[in-house]
Every structure is written in structure tokens, then in C-alpha cells.
């Protein structure tokens, strides 16, 4: 059949390209939904971990530590293979969204917590001294400042999340990685081109995000130095 990267193998791949596109679509959809879930969970548990209620902080701690310290693969296998024994059966797609979302939610919660605690105490005091409630202070004063700070680490989380959706391949989830793998193993045996193309597609998804994160970080740094220079000049 020629070498692993023979022309014939490439030709077969491009003939079947719709398979890969479908996989890419599933991956994208899982990634977007899981990212949304991770953001929602991350903000909720991030807020919990900065709350003055011990019980909320404890709940958040348990969630974060549990999901950060166990492999995503075990979590997804557990849901796919073990939960059916107690009657919980879900579609692979849903399992992907839930597991990847909940797993990355733990990381997002840490990002949100770090962002909130990086806001100086004086901001809280100014808000409270004006009569803003805890929720209002969060809404108008603390969270808007937190957003700029947490965007770069959130972008990094999004990149990791996109790559981690490939665990769906392990439970026949129909995502890009799974399509590539099954296409290659089902008779074509063109693993080389399949993985190269698949890798390139993941790269195309992730690289712009990484670029944006770096640019945003530079913008923040640049803005800070410009503002400090202006403050000195005005002084």
C-alpha cells in the first residue's frame, strides 16, 4: 500500500473530507457548549470561594480540588461506563459537554477567584462606603475590573478545553479526533495523513486564540505603562 504518507492515502482522505468536517463541527459544538458551562460554573464557584460564608467557600474548594486532581479521562469513563449501572444513561455528546465543562469549570473558578482577590480592598471599601450592597458592589465595581484581568487566563483555558474535547474519541463521541481515528482504522489504515490533518485543524482553532491572548496581555501592559506615564507627567 506504499508508505504511511503515500499520495494514495492523501487522496482517500480528501475524498472523505466531509467526515472530517462533520467531526470538526461536533468538536466545535461540544467546545462552545462546554465553554459556556465552564464559564457559568466558574463564575458561580469563583464567587463562592471569595464569599464571607465558610460553607460556600468549602463547597467551592471541594469542587475545585476534586476536578483539578483527577484525570478528565477517568471522569468521562466513569460517566460513560459506570453510571449506566445505576440507570443514568446519556448521549456521548452530552457526556462530552458535561464532563469537559465541569472539569474546566474548576479551572475557571480558580481564575475568577484569583481575579476577584486581585482587586484592592480599597475598591470594596469605596463601594460599601457609598452604600452599595455586596451584589451591587460586585456588579458595578469589582467584576468589571476583574473581567480585563481574567480574559487572558480564560483564553488559555478555552484553548485547553478545545484540545481536551478530544477525550470524546475514547467514548466514540463523533468528534473530530474520533472521526479521524475511526476513518483511519476502518480499512484505510491511513493513520499518518489522518492525524496530521486533524492536528492541523485543532491548531487552526487554538492558534488564533493563543495569539489573541498574547495581544490582549500586551495591550493591558501597554495601557498600564501609558497611564502611569501620563500620571507622572500630570503630577
Amino acid at each position: 500500500m506504499g508508505g504511511p504518507f503515500s499520495l494514495r492515502r492523501w487522496a482517500r482522505l480528501f475524498a472523505d473530507y466531509t467526515l472530517f468536517l462533520e467531526g470538526l463541527g461536533v468538536t466545535l459544538l461540544v467546545a462552545v457548549l462546554a465553554l459556556f458551562l465552564a464559564l457559568v460554573l466558574g463564575v458561580i464557584f469563583g464567587l463562592f470561594s471569595t464569599s464571607s460564608f465558610k460553607s460556600l467557600r468549602a463547597v467551592s474548594r471541594v469542587y475545585v480540588e476534586f476536578f483539578q486532581n483527577t484525570p478528565l479521562v477517568i471522569q468521562i469513563f466513569f460517566v460513560y461506563n459506570a453510571l449506566p449501572y445505576i440507570g443514568i444513561r446519556m448521549h456521548e455528546f452530552l457526556i462530552g459537554v458535561l464532563c469537559v465543562g465541569v472539569y474546566h469549570g474548576a479551572y475557571v473558578a480558580e481564575v475568577v477567584r484569583a481575579g476577584i482577590t486581585s482587586i484592592p480592598k480599597g475598591q470594596w471599601e469605596a463601594a460599601r462606603s457609598q452604600g452599595f450592597s455586596y451584589v451591587q458592589a460586585m456588579q458595578y465595581i469589582i467584576l468589571p475590573q476583574t473581567v480585563t484581568i481574567v480574559l487572558p487566563p480564560l483564553g488559555n483555558q478555552a484553548v485547553n478545553l478545545i484540545k481536551n474535547t478530544s477525550v470524546l474519541a475514547l467514548i466514540a463521541g463523533g468528534d473530530l479526533m474520533y472521526r479521524a481515528d475511526s476513518w483511519a482504522s476502518n480499512g484505510t489504515l491511513s493513520y499518518g495523513p489522518a492525524y496530521v490533518v486533524t492536528g492541523a485543524l485543532y491548531f487552526l482553532l487554538c492558534f488564533p486564540l493563543v495569539k489573541w491572548v498574547r495581544a490582549h496581555e500586551l495591550r493591558i501592559k501597554d495601557r498600564d505603562t501609558r497611564q502611569h506615564a501620563a500620571a507622572r507627567a500630570g503630577a
Partner: protein
Amino acid sequence: MIRLNGVFKQFGNLEVLKDISLHVREGEKITIIGPSGSGKSTLIRCINALEMPTSGEVFLNGEPLLASNRTGMVRMYCAMVFQQFNLYPHMTAMQNITLAPVKLQKKSKTEAEELAWHYLDVVGLRDKANAYPSTLSGGQQQRIAIARALATRQKILLFDEPTSALDPEMVQEVLDVMIRLSKESITMIVVTHEMGFARQVADRVIFLDNGVLVEEAPPQDFFANPKNERTRAFLSKILH
């Protein structure tokens, strides 16, 4: 307007305020002086519920200030100016000033902005309305912070060492604004090391030492013949 009855405050085992009783009439100007760590900040922070007393009572306008009503009480009566300005860095000067009037006092945006222009004039910074705090000098930031405090038109205005974080050449511009304010009917309590200011505007000077209210008197008496030994020692140290 403000009444403290036997206020104690502890942080862990540290007793910071010891049996403070104080009555401030509406419109009165009070300055609080005392050595570092004597509890001056803690005292005024008990008036706007940034700290809650360990025991004792605080009344604003005759109403008790409690953990359960603190947000509403502060919203109704108090504004504060901090040593470190604490402007909201993600908002322009104008937005800093109008946030509370719009969100808490339900004023319309135009109404709040009109008010803001007025107070920007009071602090002499009309041309900085659209500037972000980080582009302003310390003195300018503090004047915006004063405009922000004024714009809610509270009866009680608290200042915690408003000029201590400023470069020397900017102290006077902030003091000038405060001296002008002292002509108004607002109740002002000012923690300060500026004895000239205390002499000029205070109705009463309060000396706090080690958490105890040691002496209070009108400035002419207070500075000319302090009664307490500790007051004399403190004054001789700072007035040379």
C-alpha cells in the same frame, strides 16, 4: 447627627477602641488627631459601618446603626474620602461621580451629570470629567474623590487622612477644597495630621491615644492650653 455610646472595638485580642462616647451635632466640623495606630481610622470606620463595634452603639440621625441596616443607613447618611482615593479605575471621573446617584438614588443620568458638573466645578476639575483616574495626579484624584462623595449629598462626610498620600505640593489644593466645604452645612469628621487645617476649620478637635478619647476642645483651647498630659506630649512632638 452622630452619637457614639461606649463604643469598644477589638481585632482579635487587640483592643483598638476603648469606651468611646461622642456626640456630633448636625453641621459640626470635627478633626481627629492622634498618634499612628491610636484607632482614628477605626473610629470613623465605625461611623459608616466599614467596621462594626464589638460593643456599644452608634446612632446616625437618631437611628441605631446595626449589621442588619448598615447598607441602607450608609446609603442614606454617609460619604467617605479615603487616604488612597479609591476611585473606580475602570470609570471616568464623571462615571465615578454619577454611579451612586444613578444606581442608588435613582436619579436620571442627566440629573446626575448636572450634579456632577456642579461638584466638578466645586473641586475645580471641570476639564477632567472624561479622564480616567490613572491619568490624573494624586491631588486631582483626591479632588475627584471629594466630588464623588459630595454628589450623593449626604449629611455626613468622613475624611480619613485625605492628604497623607499626596506629594507635598498637592496637599494645599485638596485642603483648599475642604476649607471651602467647611463653610457649608455638612457634618464633617476629618482625621488629619494637618494642624493648620484643624485650627482653621474645626469646631472641635479630638485627641485619640491608644484607643482612648483623651481630650476634646475647640481648636483655640485645644492648641493653646491642652489639659491632658498625653495631649501636651503629642502636641509638643508635632508642633516642635
